[in-house]
């Protein structure tokens, strides 16, 4: 009987230590496998502020960069307004306000010349060789004549 008791006690302790181990592992597992909430960093708002100069231009696919002097023409964005400096054929010919269709993922830019209706165009905003570029496609004259200007921020 005694021996049986001792045996049972042993089993009891053995069982108890097993449970303890299980609880510890369960606790470890529970704490280690905690799901973290994954939140991607917010996309930066595209800031086009500053002066932009033309680095490449085409008309109906023909390169104009080498035959037209674009060096004086600047497109300046500041606090919701744009300014054309030393004008050349462009989407708009008067200064005014501008807006992006989505500040984080913009696909379109609207120019609203003072006193006129807004004009929108698709634009791309890639980083080329570490430098942000702005490419605009438009027809300042006949609708069938398509111009593509690629801008880069002036230093």
């Amino acid at each position: 009987m005694n021996s049986l008791k001792i045996f049972n006690m042993k089993r009891f302790y053995k069982f108890n230590s097993s449970v303890r181990l299980l609880v510890i592992f369960a606790l470890l597992g529970w704490t280690s496998c905690k799901v973290e909430s994954l939140k991607p960093p917010a996309e930066a708002t595209k800031d086009v502020s500053g002066n932009w100069v033309v680095i490449a231009a085409t008309r109906n696919g023909t390169d104009l960069t080498s035959i037209v002097d674009f060096s004086q023409f600047k497109l300046s964005f500041s606090q919701g307004k744009y300014t054309l400096i030393n004008k050349l054929p462009f989407l708009v010919s008067q200064n005014g306000t501008y807006s992006l269709d989505d500040p984080q993922y913009p696909f379109q830019i609207s120019f609203t010349p003072t006193g006129s209706k807004a004009v929108s165009t698709a634009f791309t905003y890639p980083i080329v060789n570490g430098v942000r570029q702005l490419t605009l496609t438009f027809s300042p004259g006949c609708p069938n004549n398509t111009y593509v200007y690629t801008f880069q921020k002036a230093n």
């Binding site: 104009l64 035959i67 300042p140 004259g141 006949c142 069938n144």
Partner: protein, 343 residues
Amino acid sequence: MRSYLHIKIKGKMLWSFCAILILGIVITCCSITVFTINQPDTATVGSTVPISVNFTYHNIYASSTENLVFGFLVPKGWATAQNCKITYTSTVGNGSMVLMPSTVTEPQSNGLSWPAALLKKFGIGGNLVNDMEWVVYQSDVGYPLSNGEEISAILNISLKVGADNNNTLCKLGYVIAESADGLRPIDGSLDNNGAKYEYYAEQITPCFMLTGGSGDVVDFCNPQLTSVDPPKSLDNDFITLTFDGTVTNTALPSGSAVYLCATANTSDGKTYTVCDQSAKTQFIQTAAGSNKYKITIWPRSYFGISDAQTIVNMNYFVTDVTGNIKVGYGNTASPFTYTFKCN
């Protein structure tokens, strides 16, 4: 080894049979044996020109249902898609030609539309001003063609010419094909008469003259002393003027510096002349000694008009450095003219 050879022979026969079967299914084509065009040489702006295209085509492969395809090379300014009606009479049926939907691709051109495929293959048919377009039609219904069948057809074209009101010299182009093979190149197949089997036919006609318009003379056929690119533009476009001194002997010495002497007429009745001989007006020779020159201008700025004004047209000469030698239209004392418009 014997067994292997046996299998090989069987396989070869099987492949040959399959190849013939596939060729029979895929190449359901029609050789065009007759192709004549009855087109007037001249017309007046705004008139409706009757043109007939007569052809016979001959199918030597497996039967298939195909639409007749017709490509028409015309000046863009004629807005042919809106101003042309085409009917057909043929030995298999009569009907109308309808504009090819822009979504339909030419079968041999990796996804290009029919007009784009024709432009890629035939260009602008030897015309010298890049202001031509291929307008493509297909028969309103498809026709089943059996092996050996020959079809004769006539396209009756009613084309209202000169929607842009320009006096025009141009070469019109005609292409006949069928929808299944499209512009498939000659591939060694022979017609019954032993001639190489052709899947389509193309013809460019001699220069067609359109008169009676009040617009500019647009000559697609003959090299011009000067030309403007883009051919259609407004004063807010960049325009590139080309002077080609090789077209004819002018009073300007070959290879010497030449300048633009131009007068702009605005919609409010004013004229603006820029006729100095300076860096602003100087043409740039495209290559040393080429006697071909270009100048690119933004007319609004070049003539210094106000924001409220619009330039309607421009008259111009090409001069030497003194300004005393002036070359005009057709190497005469009359100026070249250019009208700013989009159509």
